[in-house]
């Protein structure tokens, strides 16, 4: 254990209250694991943004997936993260549907889902394509692979999301009160440093692309505070060992070959233009939405969920009327509680500490 707090020597006196947003479920987990929030300088708060692709998938989409899972002959192939995400009915999720007889396979990679489809030609395998730009290229490769090898019983529900449109929507939202961003290092591996340049350029907000070790995160927070102190918002790449200026051209090429941006609904934030990825028409044979005539409602139903306000900093978790009563980690309503280390889940867990 270090003798000195790694934030020692940072003078935040003239900065006042500083709120920094980290935009990646993996960062949220890493920060919680290392207990970083407890050692931050006084007046510096870390907020977890909507960077958990599972958490921002709206309940209507989950409902569509759940309905599909109960269809005869269909096997849902999914990353483990999705098994307990709730639909709009309390307690209804993939894990429960599996207990009731649905065929649900946990996979570690989209390619595993293609292999499963090859091994079980009599089943319709539907892969849940969740994730951001980090995961999209691999999902694209799986779709291409199935296409090239004529695997007809494989399709994907794309609930993939893009980070930039959501961050822009947040930065433009009323009452947005965040002074800097910790950017997701592995999204940056794909889209490059340049992919986050819009934050200082268009919004005057400092941004640091951060790795995922506690040391990476601590150094990145220090860099953000240093930029705030000098009043010169810029973009820095702390994760230079895995992030280059322009990202990964092969990954981006495959992503754009298979997917195109579309208007998409984010739980807690609403509809965001270009906020999601749709499978291009050339690959519609692998598009589960087309194959199964899925209708995912465009309009977000009136929801009592206040996550949008919590994430943008207009509301504290404890001030949400649903917090701790209706909305609890075992039975969450919105992403802030779905994510085990989201703002609300963390507030709930750490209360009194």
């Amino acid at each position: 254990m270090p003798c000195v707090n790694p934030f020692a020597g940072i003078n935040t006196a003239q900065l006042g209250a500083v709120r920094l947003m980290e935009v990646c479920g993996t960062h949220t987990m890493a920060i919680a694991r290392a207990g970083i929030k407890r050692i931050l300088p006084k007046d510096v708060t870390l907020i977890s943004g909507p960077g958990c692709p599972v958490c921002v998938t709206p309940p209507e989409v989950i409902d569509t997936i759940l309905a599909l899972s109960s269809k005869k002959g269909v096997t849902i192939a999914t990353y483990g993260d999705m098994l307990r995400v709730p639909g709009s009915r309390r307690g209804d999720n993939l894990a429960r549907r599996r207990a009731l007889g649905a065929s649900v396979e946990t996979v570690f990679s989209a390619m595993d889902a293609v292999d499963y489809a090859k091994s079980f030609p009599g089943r319709e395998v539907v892969f849940l394509g969740i994730g951001f730009e980090t995961t999209a290229p691999g999902t694209a490769a799986a779709i291409l692979s199935a296409h090239d090898e004529g695997v007809r019983n494989f399709s994907v529900i794309s609930v993939l999301k893009l980070v930039e449109p959501a961050l822009r929507a947040l930065a433009q939202s009323e009452g947005f009160n965040v002074q800097g961003f910790l950017c997701p290092g592995h999204v940056a591996s794909v889209i490059g440093e340049e992919g986050f340049a819009f934050l200082p350029r268009d919004y005057g907000l400092p941004a640091v692309i951060s790795g995922f070790e506690p040391q990476d995160i601590i150094l990145s927070i220090r860099r953000l505070l240093a930029m705030l102190e000098t009043g010169r918002p810029g973009l820095e790449n702390q994760y230079s060992r895995a992030v280059s200026r322009d990202g990964n051209p092969l990954a981006l090429a495959m992503l754009h070959q298979v997917f195109e941006p579309r208007r998409d609904i984010w739980r807690g934030l609403g509809a965001i233009d270009g906020g999601g990825l749709a499978i291009r028409p050339e690959y519609s044979a692998a598009d589960a939405e087309k194959k199964f005539y899925l209708e995912i409602s465009e309009v977000t139903a009136e929801t009592p969920c206040r996550c949008g306000q919590v994430i943008t900093g207009r509301m504290q978790p404890a001030d949400c009327p649903l917090f701790g009563e209706t909305c609890v980690p075992e039975d969450p309503v919105g992403p802030c509680m779905v994510s085990s280390e989201g703002a609300c889940a963390a507030a709930y867990k750490y209360q009194g500490i």
Binding site: H27, G51, S109, F132, A242, N248, L250
Partner: protein, 73 residues
Amino acid sequence: MCLAVPLKIVEIDGVNAVGEIEGLRRKMRLDFIKEPKIGEYVVVHAGFAIERLSIEEARLNIAEWEALENALR
């Protein structure tokens, strides 16, 4: 969205490969790595290597942390 592991490439067969960490071997895809070589390190997410790990930059990243530790002592 970003959980990834650094693996050392130990076998290559087209786009399919085997990566290794602490003696554990795991299959992975190298579709996004240009001219991969045995012995290189890659960052692997959901079964795909999304980028090479630059050893030079890793040294710089480590050095930044060590400089901080030294300054604080």
